[in-house]
Symmetry: C2
Subunit: 139 residues, 2 copies
DNA sequence: CGGCATCCGTTTTGATACTG
DNA sequence: CAGTATCAAAACGGATGCCG
């Protein structure tokens, strides 16, 4: 019942020895958790998907995302830049132009993100149905 | 440069016609976003991974997760139950025992989650390095 | 155009104490 | 044991206005 890429989780859990070379995912300080936190960010995932089409300007991103305060969008982009997921290029023009582009690392991230997105699109209807049944069920 | 399963995003973006049968991911009300939100939850992903090993009791989950207030853990589990990701079985014993178990839908979710986790484990070090370089770089 | 600064409301998470 | 109730903090997201 264990799926892919989970060698010995059960053993490590049972032994209380949940530590391995990659660190312990269940430790708040585990580096892997950093990425999970980033995925949890409201806009990052959407930004990666958008930028997978190619470089995009600030306002362009904003338009596609809908209701995002510029401050928030900047924060997300800056974090992604810090992590090395995107590059930020400023063009010395008037009016100014700033383009964001995925790095190779960022493009790499698209694969797992797409996996999640595909799953979500595939099962969204069922989950919505589950919710409705649950909410009206136990009267 | 477009990766898997993204047929015509570019076209849809350009046309401003970002709507298709599955709804528009960039619309806040898109069902797919519901799942993304759930993934963004601080504990849900970890819970799915833990429960992939088999049924587990409330306290058992709590122990593995570290610092979780019982209230918060309950909230996460209840949401997952509502979505049909886990089942909650109460045993009429003293002391009481409650076991949580992944549904088939929940086990299904493990695949995309593992994809993300694998990616994260693989690239965490690099991202941490990027951050450090970035933080000390622009002096 | 692409932000930054400021203020503020909501949501999320947590610590703690108590109960069936 | 498995929660619930309460209180408090904080992280997050958003609105707005100004500026290079």
């Amino acid at each position: 019942m264990v799926t892919i890429a989970q060698p010995g989780l059960a053993e490590r859990l049972r032994a209380g020895q949940r530590q391995d070379e990659r660190g312990n995912l269940f430790d708040a300080d585990c580096p892997t958790r950093l990425i999970l936190d980033r995925i949890g960010d409201k806009w990052t995932v959407l930004l990666v998907i958008l930028l997978s089409e190619g470089p995009m300007r600030f306002t362009e991103l904003r338009t596609h995302l809908g209701r995002v305060a510029p401050k928030v969008l900047t924060q997300s982009l800056r974090r992604m830049e810090r992590d090395g997921l995107v590059t930020r290029e400023v063009f010395a023009e008037v009016p100014p132009r700033v383009e964001y582009e995925l790095t190779e690392l960022g493009r790499d991230l698209l694969a797992p993100i797409d996996a999640v997105r595909l799953w979500a699109e595939e099962h969204a209807a069922r989950i919505v149905a589950n919710r409705e049944r649950h909410d009206s069920g136990p009267a």
